[in-house]
Symmetry: D2
Subunit: 133 residues, 4 copies
Amino acid sequence: MSAYLDEVFPQVRGMFGIDTLEDDRVVMRLHADERHLRPGGTVSGPAMFSLADVAAYVATMARIGPEALTVTTHCSIDFMRKPVSGRDLLAEARLLKLGKTLSVTDVLLYSEGVAEPVAHASLTYAIPPRRDA
Amino acid sequence: MSAYLDEVFPQVRGMFGIDTLEDDRVVMRLHADERHLRPGGTVSGPAMFSLADVAAYVATMARIGPEALTVTTHCSIDFMRKPVSGRDLLAEARLLKLGKTLSVTDVLLYSEGVAEPVAHASLTYAIPPRRDA
Amino acid sequence: MSAYLDEVFPQVRGMFGIDTLEDDRVVMRLHADERHLRPGGTVSGPAMFSLADVAAYVATMARIGPEALTVTTHCSIDFMRKPVSGRDLLAEARLLKLGKTLSVTDVLLYSEGVAEPVAHASLTYAIPPRRDA
Amino acid sequence: MSAYLDEVFPQVRGMFGIDTLEDDRVVMRLHADERHLRPGGTVSGPAMFSLADVAAYVATMARIGPEALTVTTHCSIDFMRKPVSGRDLLAEARLLKLGKTLSVTDVLLYSEGVAEPVAHASLTYAIPPRRDA
């Protein structure tokens, strides 16, 4: 899956890691990295969005198999706390629904080692019709 | 305002331009740029999120003055169409509410020269209490 | 369309009126009514949600024709100001996207005669596959 | 708390019950009731919104004490499955953030006795400044 991600998201190669990959639960990691920092050393909103987005993508792929055409159609994200400076950011994604044409995934983001979430997102992916159907 | 943005968002220096800056309407531009492309040559979701976020930030700043501590607390975004490859992306932001503790901004994203929007977002910014109050 | 609404939403018969019904813009009205008031005489959040929901439904129906099976899959709503007591509530809905499997509608809610919106919503409707296709 | 709810939400008296009331987790119940049904016997979207809204309200009240002025500022809700006809609807609410000026609550809605959620919501409540502060 990591190799597949590097291929589908070449612009973020090496940015994300997969900690856990289960049937309906995925944990991904955004490596602390200078490029995504805001003044003050915390992770930027767009970087948090990216992590939530890729985690929801992987949670969906884990069930339907690689489908590069799958696209995000909606994201609702609450930024609740400032990420801890210098720590990796973890995303815990749970697939809430896998339908024929869309998936819905709940994602909580944490600074590694901190109990309280920094952000909470819900993402919808559109799933293309099966071409072999 | 452009110089201020470069200072507050150093990681995206030069990425965004301001086309229009009015009292409750801002148009910003994301320069077509290899770094933000997905396979197929279109702008990535995170880059669209970034553009909506910075446009809502500028729409809020245009009214309250520079406040670097202002933070995004919520974003809801619908990705509706694929951006046109190679075109700049424009964000038209309208401030719907400016309260004492938060602002709400509506943002429509377009590929330059195309009438139908590629994405639609609503963003909430938390405004810090006035320190001189 | 009004008669059709009464049939599809029998539980809200008479609650809503259609002021304007154009190709991609619909204005609907929630009649001021004791049943939907909160303490203090303003319209309740659920009543505002209902109005936004039915306006997005009508905006979609206006384009695809009556489809009772069409269902709301997502709503994101910002409550920005207190509605004015005793006034009807108006919803201005614009269809932002009409795809094969979903529609996206932007809705602004106003107290009649007041310029500043009380709420802003974005709704997604899932459109069932054509049975005659 | 039930008596308090009847006072604050007189228009829905008797509609909701509280199953569980813990420090950061609340379970509420929407009694199956003819008034909220859509054609086909399922619970309507607005009734689901109401249940999520009141559950988030109670989850916030459980921590800060009764504050009738607390208002919903945002709700993002995904409707994922059709509720089961004739069953009560349960809402499991978890307070994700309690700040000085706002709370964020995650809510999952279930048909009683069914494992898969029918809807998922995130709600933000604005908390008024302490008058005795």
